[in-house]
Symmetry: C2
Subunit: 136 residues, 2 copies
């Protein structure tokens, strides 16, 4: 079981805590009513997906003892024009230093994509989502 | 178009940047090889969903001029036992101060759920996901 908690600060800002006492602030862009003091929720689904696959890949490449020195993963998401403006297309670009064989990176990517990445799998097979309202 | 970038630091740690210069560190639990210095990617999909709906709801309740003083949203996710350990069930618990009518919170929840929340919609209709490998 994974668990996170969001607490409203003010305006459209929330502070997030995970179970290991990490914190971050959520906010949104000024043009849609926020104050831009933190990550937008809609960006964090890209971070979650990219992070899941990037960590899988580093872990796999390290076990293979390849000469990994740099990895930069860029995640771009295109959204529908109409509400709810869901992501229709997501592209991950994975850049590594030239000493790493692309065949090794490709294999690590495939292992994450086809076997290990929980976030990718969640995006492929919709989870059941429930809501509960509670009064203080 | 939304865009984020993840840069490998060391071990299983990445630093994330969005387009507005917000940063956060990704890491994983010690028991699975990390050093616990930052949010786990798998938790951030819960943050993204909870944050998207929480911000929608606050925005809707503020426009309605209800007496909102506190909101805490807890998001719990159950995962499959086998790799890729996708989320099978996600539960959002939304707690507000007692002065707020539950009918108003329910209506705000329904508007986010059925009309506005990009992240929920992305979890309901799988996006197309592509990969590109790049050598430095």
């Amino acid at each position: 079981m994974q668990k996170v908690e969001l607490k409203w600060i003010d305006g459209l800002r929330f502070v997030v805590n995970d179970e290991n006492k990490h914190s971050l602030v959520l906010d949104i862009k000024a043009e849609i009513g926020g104050t831009e003091t933190g990550f937008q929720p809609v960006d964090l689904i890209l971070v979650s997906l990219g992070g899941c696959m990037a960590l899988d890949m580093v872990s796999i490449l390290q076990k293979k003892r390849v000469n990994l020195k740099d990895m930069v993963v860029t995640i771009e998401g295109e959204r529908a024009n109409e509400h709810p403006k869901r992501y229709t297309n997501i592209t991950l670009k994975i850049k590594t230093n030239k000493e790493v064989l692309q065949a090794d990176v490709q294999r690590a990517l495939e292992l994450s994509r086809d076997k290990y990445c929980s976030v990718l799998s969640t995006l492929q097979i919709p989870p059941e989502i429930k809501f509960e309202l509670i009064t203080e």
